[in-house]
């Protein structure tokens, strides 16, 4: 077993090292090595999954001593349970397909071998993050995936924007990581040196984790601090600013790191450490998640850059997962992580395929690609249907559970109605902006013929991953049946393990009873509404949005078109919504990004400048050099006696001796 795990985990590292040092000398620059290495990892992960399906329970752990001082020992350990196996499969599947895809996408890049080395290194770190059983090692791999993300965002570093984005991503997430780290220290301190998950859970379950800080229970505080790390990595408000910028990296990277795996690490972490989050901390998570989901979705409505729309959509979906975890529907939240990984990776890779063909990311330049790139279109349609939450697609299963959990939570605690509001509005917006993207890219008439003319379907290495991922966007892969029972059964075994240590069992079953029906109905209505709306905006009346946004002429024209109800919607809902969107997107950029985040820059630079000056002028030149001046001026006076003539010195000495003699005699 250990051997299997090591092969699974270390193969990507080995390929990364080989490619880094020898990549340029290998045939085809060694891309086959990376793909094959990932293939091995994928096979092993799938074998674990098969075993899990057969046994319905899986638990394997192994520890080895790593750091031991007197009174302190930190071990390195692996923990494999159903949740780990699912993550392993998600990571290796997406990573394998992205590796395959990249062999075409990055063809001819001067740093081709290095790209694959980074990609494999990322996979290794991500697998490590999933496999470890202890907080410190979680943090270590947490940072290492951040490093891989930095390297890959800045892969085309000769573009200034790319290097800026890489730096911004690393630093923004590090702010969250600082909270994470303080949380770890707090737990380490309070538990008397425990870092392994199981030990901490036991400690908490025994109710030993007590104490208050400023009126907040320490455990809640620790939970919120840990969640700060997740907020950074999973791009939750207000630390989400880095993710849209991170789209400067190559598109397959965005698919792997910034859609499917690394950004989901925050969700994984919260799920894994669920026991540590008290109801208060969970509420915090729920609100942050719900708000992020809503907030990011509004921003996605207006962007015309195909990758940025997807990036905002990713933030929004991550917010969804967080909200699910916060309201107690952790199974739903985690399930959404899995389904989202497949369809969002598919969407990103489709957008990559489009970008590869058209050499632009601006959706206003595209349109009419459906006939040119049929495979890309159909796979993207499937993924879009899935993310919009249409029945028979995977997104429906997970989103439905999430919304039901949210609704049942709100039904129990009516004072938190806002959560449900955010969640359901986001569902509608998701459908809208995703279909808007699809329409603008493929369905609208071609706008820029120069761009469209030489567009063609991508080669098999790119379309195969698209087909596989879109296949995984069908619900049947996750449910085994259409009602979602299959996967939940797998979750069931994990659920029991969970219940042993959990403090506050989630109202999951209740959620099904009371809230499932209304939630499903509501979400379906909203999703369909969004799709119809986008259909209307971008296919039926393609001139509508621009006019609407530009002048009141648009309103007049729609009035002529007699769509009274639609126009009413536009007037009272969509137009303010659009305005709100632009306002929010603009404020997001101008206030949060430029003021709230970048605003620290002048403060820091000024302080550092000031302290630099202080150091130079007050301490160094005044205090230190001042003492030298005192010494040197007195020395200049005294040196006048020092003529360098020894004979004079002797004369002086004798003179002094005589004076002394006389003085002694007379006194």
């Amino acid at each position: 077993m250990l051997e299997k795990v090591l092969w699974l985990w270390l193969t990507p590292l080995a390929t990364a090292i080989i490619l880094l040092f020898l990549g340029k000398r290998l045939p085809r620059r060694g891309d086959w090595l990376a793909v094959m290495g990932l293939g091995l990892s994928l096979t092993l992960s799938l074998s674990f999954l098969l075993e899990l399906f057969q046994t319905h329970t899986f638990e394997w752990r192994e520890q080895m001593a790593w750091l031991s001082l007197s009174g302190l020992s930190i071990s390195f350990g692996w923990l494999i349970d159903p949740i780990t196996i699912l993550m392993l499969c998600v990571v290796t599947t997406v990573s394998f397909l992205v590796h395959l895809y990249s062999t075409e996408y990055l063809k001819g890049d001067p740093n081709y071998a290095r790209y694959f080395a980074y990609l494999s290194f990322f996979t290794f770190s991500m697998l490590g993050l999933v496999l470890v059983d202890n907080l410190l090692w979680l943090y270590i791999f947490w940072e290492l995936v951040g490093l891989a993300s930095y390297l890959l965002i800045g892969f085309w570093f000769e573009k200034k924007s790319a290097s800026d984005a890489a730096k911004k991503a690393f630093l923004t997430t590090r702010i969250g990581d600082m909270g994470f780290f303080i949380g770890i220290m707090l737990i380490f301190y309070k538990t008397g040196g425990l870092l392994t998950y199981d030990d901490i859970f036991k400690f908490v379950a025994q109710g030993q984790f007590t104490g208050e800080f400023l009126g907040i229970p320490i455990l809640t505080l620790a939970g919120i601090l840990l969640f700060l790390g997740a907020m950074g990595k999973s791009a939750q408000f207000p630390l989400h600013v880095w993710l849209p910028d991170a789209m400067e990296g190559p598109t397959p990277v965005s698919a792997l790191i910034h859609a499917a795996t690394m950004v989901a690490a925050g969700v994984y972490m919260v799920t894994r450490l669920y026991v540590l989050f008290t109801p208060e901390a969970q509420l915090f998570i729920a609100y942050i998640g719900a708000f992020t989901a809503f907030f990011a979705a509004t921003m996605a409505l207006t962007h015309t850059d195909i990758k940025k729309v997807l990036a905002y959509s990713t933030i929004s979906q991550l917010g969804y997962m967080m909200m699910g975890l916060g309201v107690g529907a952790y199974v739903a939240g985690f399930l959404h992580l899995v389904t989202h990984a497949a369809f969002k990776a598919c969407l990103f890779l489709c957008s990559g395929s489009v970008i590869h063909a058209t050499h632009t990311q601006d959706m206003r330049e595209m349109g009419g690609l459906k006939s040119k790139m049929p495979i890309t279109f159909w796979t993207m349609l499937i993924a879009t249907l899935s993310i919009s939450g249409i029945p028979f697609f995977s997104g429906f299963v997970s989103k439905d559970l999430l919304l039901a959990g949210c609704l049942s939570f709100v039904m129990e605690h009516p004072e938190h109605l806002l959560l449900a509001l955010f969640a359901f509005i986001t569902a509608g917006m998701t459908a809208f902006y995703m279909f808007r993207l699809l329409c603008m890219t493929f369905l609208m008439p071609a706008k820029n013929l120069k761009v469209i003319d030489h567009a063609h379907e991508s080669p098999w290495a790119m379309t195969l991953p698209l087909c596989l991922l879109s296949g995984l966007s069908f619900a049947i892969f996750f449910t085994g049946s259409l009602d979602g029972a299959g996967l939940l059964q797998v979750f069931g075994s994990w659920h029991d393990w969970f219940n042993e240590v959990i403090l506050n069992p989630a109202p999951l079953d209740e959620a099904h009873g009371n809230a499932h029906g209304p939630a499903m109905a509501l979400s379906l209505i909203l999703a369909t509404g969004g799709i119809l709306l986008s259909y209307l905006f971008y296919l039926k009346k393609p001139e509508l949005p621009q006019r609407l946004a530009q002048n009141t002429q648009a309103i007049y024209q729609t009035l002529i078109h007699l769509y009274w109800i639609d126009e009413l919607y536009q007037k009272i809902i969509i137009q303010p919504l659009l305005k709100l969107n632009t306002f929010l997107a603009d404020r997001d950029n101008r206030w949060i990004d430029q003021k709230l985040v970048d605003g620290w820059k002048p403060l820091t630079t000024q302080t550092s400048k000031g302290s630099g000056h202080f150091d130079n002028i007050v301490i160094d030149e005044t205090l230190v050099d001042g003492s030298a001046v005192v010494v040197s001026t007195s020395a200049i006076q005294l040196r006048k006696i020092q003529t360098g003539k020894v004979q004079q010195y002797v004369l002086m000495a004798i003179g002094a001796f005589c004076i002394l003699l006389i003085a002694v005699y007379f006194l």
């Binding site: 790593w66 750091l67 031991s68 001082l69 007197s70 009174g71 302190l72 001067p110 740093n111 410190l136 943090y139 270590i140 791999f141 940072e143 290492l144 490093l147 930095y150 800045g154 570093f157 000769e158 573009k159 200034k160 790319a162 290097s163 800026d164 890489a166 730096k167 690393f170 630093l171 590090r174 702010i175 600082m178 780290f181 303080i182 220290m185 707090l186 380490f188 301190y189 820091t604 630079t605 302080t607 550092s608 400048k609 302290s611 630099g612 000056h613 150091d615 130079n616 301490i619 160094d620 205090l623 230190v624 030298a628």
Partner: protein, 512 residues
């Protein structure tokens, strides 16, 4: 014979080398280089033997040689190693060897340079081995002299100023140390300079006394002595506000000497505190520990801010110098050492000593790397490059590794020591530690910013045909890079060495 006198052989081999180098004809430059290499390689081998035969389970001094030297004043030639000093000895021999390789390109005054360098190595090794205060003091001064010449003769444009500043700063500290040394001698019964004897309870008895009309109780006198000793060592660490010699000396010194300065000399201050102040004046150290922690915090934040100012300040205002950035970052990193030392927890003190070692390897790499680029383009302006990443990929990889190691990336050695320091200090000063973690972000910010300015972005066409690092430069960097990675993944080889001695040291503070 070899095992009994291993330490003496190690300390004095460079002295023999110095004499031989001085006697070689100055026209035979390669002879001078190769013999210097040999006489730094021999101590490296001897320290290797030392490492292999070192008993990790013992807390006391090993390989002890103690012979009477000046019997009238009970002064001994006493050398030995324990867990505290062995890592630093290994670091010293390794860095000295690598620095000789890095000095290969020096042409002017070669003979003088290498003989001074060998004398410097002897002085440094002597400091880490001596456990007689008098001998310690002698070596402390012995090390000062060649350093003065190495900066003052082979340095940059303001070398004289820098050398004198360095010399005076350190001398000021040594004078205070001398006072303390004499006080220890006269107030111990029987009079002794032996640090081991002095640390035993009941040997040292202070009386109340009057100095300059101020009457001090015995406790106050001991505290005064601690402060004297502290200032002496604080200058070497350096601790704010005694740090201004450091950026200047680093900037002006030639590359290999910057490496020695940052890699080893900075450690002497912290080593001195742990070797002398901690065991001999435990009560006073404990009394002072709050201040030590605050100073550590100030070092971390202040150093990082000043380092960042190097990017924002224009050259005319004394900024924009890569070497200065690294020098300030050293101040920040030594802050972690202080913070770890100040808390008397297992994690803290191991983190501090391990951080000393790791800072030695990472800053050595950083300075060697700055030297590499300086040799090629003859400037160190952070703004003066741009987009070098694709021109010199191997160099970029090494710089990135060193930068990421310095900013405490997991998987690299500094991370382990920083995390140990933080875990240890959080137990005692939680809020202070939380503020100190800001240092992590600030460090990341300026290192990444500098990395971007130099290597990323559009290529500066001036450096289109810059040469990547040569085999010789690779030879100096690779061992350090390997150490940084290996100890980052598995730190126990280093921690095992220091464990017993540091646990023993901590027992002194458990009752307090």
């Amino acid at each position: 014979m070899l095992y009994e006198h291993l330490l003496s052989f190690m300390i004095f081999t460079p002295v023999v080398g110095m004499l031989i180098v001085a006697l070689l004809p100055s026209s035979q430059k390669n002879w001078v280089r190769w013999s210097s290499l040999l006489f730094t390689f021999l101590p490296l081998c001897l320290s290797g033997i030392l490492f292999l035969n070192f008993d990790q389970a013992l807390a006391d001094m090993q390989f002890v040689e103690k012979t009477s030297w000046i019997p009238t004043f009970n002064i001994h030639y006493a050398v030995g190693v324990d867990g505290l000093s062995i890592t630093l000895i290994l670091l010293t021999t390794l860095l000295s060897f690598l620095c000789v390789i890095a000095s290969w390109g020096i042409e002017a005054g070669l003979k003088g340079y290498f003989s001074m360098f060998l004398l410097l190595e002897a002085g440094m090794l002597g400091i880490f081995c001596a456990f007689d205060f008098f001998l310690f003091y002698i070596f402390w001064e012995l090390m000062l002299l060649p350093m003065y010449f190495l900066i003052g003769i082979w340095g940059g444009p303001r070398k004289e100023y820098a050398a004198i500043k360095f010399f005076l700063y350190t001398l000021f500290g040594s004078v205070l140390m001398l006072v303390v040394m004499l006080a220890f001698y006269f107030y111990s019964d029987p009079h002794t300079f032996d640090l081991i004897e002095l640390s035993k309870a009941g040997i040292l008895k202070f009386n109340a006394l009057d100095i300059f009309g101020i009457s001090l109780s015995a406790e106050q006198f001991a505290k005064l002595l601690f402060i004297f000793l502290f200032i002496g060592f604080a200058i070497k660490v350096p601790i704010f506000p005694f740090h201004t010699w450091l950026p200047l000396a680093h900037v002006e010194a030639p590359t290999p000497i910057s490496v020695i300065l940052a890699g080893i000399l900075l450690k002497m201050g912290a080593y001195g505190l742990l070797r002398i102040s901690y065991p001999i004046l435990p009560h006073e150290t404990y009394w002072f520990s709050d201040a030590l922690a605050v100073l550590g915090l100030v070092n971390i934040i202040y150093g990082a801010l000043c380092a960042m100012a190097q990017i924002t300040l224009p050259e005319a205002k004394g900024g924009n110098d890569l070497k200065k950035l690294i020098a300030y970052s050293s101040i920040s990193h030594m802050g972690y050492v202080l913070l770890g030392m100040s808390v008397f927890t297992v994690e803290g003190i191991h983190g501090a000593v391990f951080q000393m070692f790791n800072h030695g390897t990472t800053t050595a790499m950083l300075f060697l790397l700055v030297g590499v680029i300086y040799d090629r383009v003859h400037h160190r302006k952070i703004d003066g490059f741009g987009g070098l990443g694709n021109v010199v990929p191997i160099y970029t990889a090494f710089v990135s590794l060193a930068f990421f190691a310095s900013l405490g990336l997991p998987g690299l050695s500094s991370f382990i020591s920083e995390i140990l320091v933080f875990l240890g200090s959080f137990k005692v000063y939680p809020s202070l530690t939380i503020v100190a973690t800001l240092g992590i972000i600030l460090n990341a910010a300026f290192f990444l910013w500098a990395l971007q300015k130099i290597f990323l972005g559009p290529l500066n066409p001036t450096y289109k045909s810059l040469k990547d690092i040569s085999a010789r430069e690779l030879l100096t960097l690779a061992p350090l890079a390997i150490l940084v990675i290996v100890l980052g993944v598995y730190p126990m080889p280093a921690l095992d060495l220091m464990k017993s001695s540091l646990d023993h040291l901590l027992t002194l503070f458990q009752a307090l």
